[in-house]
Amino acid sequence: MLPYAPWLCWGLPIIGALLTPVFGKIHQKLRDYAAVIMVLLGAIFAFSMIVDIWYGTAFLGTKWLEETFVWLSIPGGFSLEFGMLIDPLAVFMACIATGVGFIIMLYSLGYMKGDESLTRYWFFMQFFIAGMTLLVMANNLLMTFIGWEIVGLCSYALIGFWYNKKNMIKDDQLGELTEGAYNSHCGMKAFIVTRIGDVGLLISIIFIFFFTAQAGYPTFNYQTLLSIPDFAWLGSMAQVFNGGLLLLVLFLFFLGPIGKSAQFPLQIWLPEAMAGPSTVSALIHAAAMVKAGVYLVARMMPILVTGYIEFLHAASGPTTTIILTVMPNFFLIVAVIGAFTSFMTATMAIAARELKKVLAFSTISQLGYMFLGLGIFALSAHDAGGFIAATFHLSAHAVFKALLFLSAGAILHTVHSKDMLEMGGLRKAMPITYICMLFGALSLSGVPPFVGFWSKELIFAAAWHLATTNFIGWILLAAAAITGALTFFYTLRMIGLVFHSPQSKNVQDLERKHQLHEAPKVMWIPLAILALTTLILGFLYPFIYVYFFGQWGTVYSIDIELPLHLAALPTLYINWLAHTFTSTTYIISPTFLITIGVLLLGGIPGYFFYIRRSWDASRFSNNALHRFLYHRWYYNRALYFVFVRTGIEFSQGMYKYVEDGGIDRFNYAVADGFQDLSRAFRKLQTGVHSWNMILLLIGALVLILLLLFGGTFLAFFLP
């Protein structure tokens, strides 16, 4: 299904979105099911492309297949093509987006039942999935950016979905306001904060375009970027400001993913994005939006690394020197930001009270892992382990985070509160949800044999490998390990508070009213599917490995040492298992030990504080560290103060003093001045005859003086 699949996998959801209002007019059921089916069809087409990748029909020898048509034709021999790139990364991401998306859609059938704005909901959900799929399938930066913004736009619409809720709530920054206003505020915050990253991305896209044009191949296309001779665009970019521009452009490029994937300076929007329905949160966190940033870095990183390696082998010269000093710095920035973010938000998750916020912080933390993996990949250049770890973790995270959010949705659906302290003891009332959520939580923590264990262990392994050659690796590994411990701790805390602790007053009320019940079938079936997937997915690793790296060496100049044929799969399988648990130099693999150690470090206190409840956690609840963590390191508040409040005050001040008080006043002052001048001037007309004669005399005198002596004086005024 090659020529059509890359188009249909996102085209069908878009068509579905456009048809949703029409279907809505016909029948509500039709609208609901059509939406789900359209996404399902998209998913089918997306999965169908795996076959093409697997059997090599999408591979053209040195590059991957592209399906294109001309979008803009610009004189001078350049035409901008709109196209789809069918390569493993794209198809992999498309499968996650549509597959997980489909399950979330299915779940929504139950979860959103009876909402009065369902047309809007289905419209934006389909559009969201389509935008994400377009983003990952696009063959050039500009198209990716288009999908990127569609995703942002849909998140804006969906986070603020319940904009009309009337109940009052209280927020740290905004004070008291209706929940509807809060929700739309959160949507806007998400859009604007990610927009800041987008701006950086757009700037850097434009610069990349400019420098490719300078190199003679004006393009946005990923594969053309790779094939421009000698990476001349990197070279010429490096020559500006002694490499300063190169670093700036790369960093601005990374700013886009930072915003979208909520990494350190711009992570503030994601916790607020919980304001939307849980399905939306699931979609944002698992399938669509935040993954876009990781995808884009994963897309560009091999290209950059290839360029870096080319310059490594190139003849030495000033440009080469600059590139060889600048680019590792950038790679380090990616890794450090990933590590730092993952640590920072894991600490925040420990103190969070809202169930979905814990999950949100954990999302940011896990995304940090992915960036860490990608950064390690780039830093160690020849070793692709970080790359595969990051992408694998991405898929793992998609599954277990979707599972967690949907479970959380089921809980919220039942207890009508976001606060974990108003839950507790739900284990008996909601057994299926409990088990599913437990699966998700263990997977998130990296407990074997869930998928999280395999992926996280790979990241540790990549860091370990880096550490053996580079000191930086130790720091990164340490950060990853501490974060891993924290992760297990807050996961257990979450499970404990929701399911194990004694029933809160709220839950007791519900039980008394017989409203405490298990989620309906249409909701728990998707949960179950996802829960099973967390178990299975981990063991698919070797397939994914082959899938990714089958043709890696011919496209990127990075060496892959492992066997690359389907036939070698059993060997690979054995090697992998052996490699995970043992090592060539140690009996037990050190990374396996690290993983286990980390789990114990976080798990034991977690277990005793929150599951067994034999240790008392409440004594920490009011100390300074807790407050610091609860207020998210006061970072959000500081940003509000610096940018929002100061910004608004600045603009109002500018308006008051510069625009109204300055420029406009000046204009009116000129006008008034002329009026006053006119009034003063009119006094010349005294109505007295002698005065008229005197004016005449003055005129005559001036005239005669000028006539007689004015020649030189006038010459001054002449052109």
């Binding site: 005239l703 006038l714 002449l718």
Partner: protein
Amino acid sequence: MSVGLTEWFYLLPLVLTLGGALIVGLLGKVLKGRRGDVALGVVTAVFMFLALVSIVNLYYILMYANWSPLLIWYWPPGPVFDPTTGATCINIDILAVYMSVVFVFLGLFVAIYSIKYMEHDDGMGLFYPLLLTLVGSMVGVVYAGDFLTLFIFWESMSVSSYALVAFRKEETEPIEAGLKYFLLSAFGSTLILFSMSYLYGLTGTLNLAQIGANLALLPAGGAWMNVATITIMGLIIGFGIKAAIAPLCTWLPDAHPAAPSGISAMLSGVVIMTGSYAILRLFGYFFSPTVYPVYGYILSWFALFTMIYGNLMALTQKDIKRLLAYSTITNVGYIIFGFAVGMMPLTHIDPNAAELARYLSVTGGLFHITAHMLSKGMLFLCAGVFLHEIGTRDLDKLKGIGRKMTVTMVCFDIGALSLAGVPPLIGFFSKFFIIWGSIVAGWYLAAAILVLSSAFSVVYYLRMIQILVFAEPSPEALKAQRASPVMLFSIVVLTLFIVGIGLFPEFFLRVAELAAKAALGLPFS
């Protein structure tokens, strides 16, 4: 050439207007009452129309004579014209024809307008002859080829204008205005006479062209140059009083509002233009820019000052006719500026460009005379309509009158916009040519001042339009009736010309160009 039949034919415009004045004056003794007044008005209009036709005829005569001027001399008598010996003559060239068309054209419509406008006045047996005399004398001024003729017609024009300003002699305002006008203007006449006596003393002739020729023969340098310079001053001041160059214009804002509106239109539209004309014509004859390089610049500075003065005065004016009178001063500034560039040596640019600059500016100035005649004449007639309807010139009381008098108001708006220099109305083209000329002359500063002053003037034109059209009607304005068709006829026809010439300026621009060439002595090629 003595005055033969053909020459009388040339003199028809003069004869028809001045003779018409006589006939109407005599008829005025016979025809009494309202009907008699109407009849007098009609006869006046007929004479004006005939005069207009005869002047248009002169245009064709000139065209077939290849634009060489028509001369009629009466001193010294003889078969051959010898300008060296005193030589009084009538000299009709295309410039004279251009100017006289302007004069008689407005005179015609003012005459028609006055039939209705002056319905409550007595003494129409005097009014129409005076109007005809005024127009005839102006025609005479532009026809004059020598100083004697010029002076005679000048004084007759002045006297009839004094009388017309103070036509409503029972009121204080016209008398006061007329007296001040009279005193300054008569002083100006004596100054002209006094200056001319020196020129006569230097050259020994009264023929204008010959004075210029003789002056050029005088040896360069020497004491006579000082005399000539003082003469320049005298002539600029003398004619400048008539032309209302600031600061000699103090009489104008008194006299123009005080006169009956038709006469205001005549005074503002054409009478003051005789001053500008005289400056252009006489200085073109007398003082070559190469010998007297300075005065053109000085005149242009005075013109710029005049513009600014008029603008500033008009900006906060409350009396509609007074406002229009001040705007006249501004427009005089444009015209004089255009002429002044024609009198500059412009040695700093190449000769071809200099010639182009002079020619363009003078064309613009002359065209602006037409534009101003049409627009300002029409505006005063409109103001007269308002005055006639509700008896006030106060803009506060005229608020919103446009809602009751739609046609008048549309015409008023068009006239104001034309003077504001808004294309495609006629005022735009004239200003454009003046500005173009100053840019070609390389005088960017002046061009900027011109443009800014033009933009500035828009403010009070718009303010006027706004008050008259958009403001809530005042109680007085609500009493207004639709204007009489007789008055509207003049207004609408003038408006049609404003728009029509604006849309198709080609022909009129060509005539103005020919006139400019005549004034500058350029070949007609």
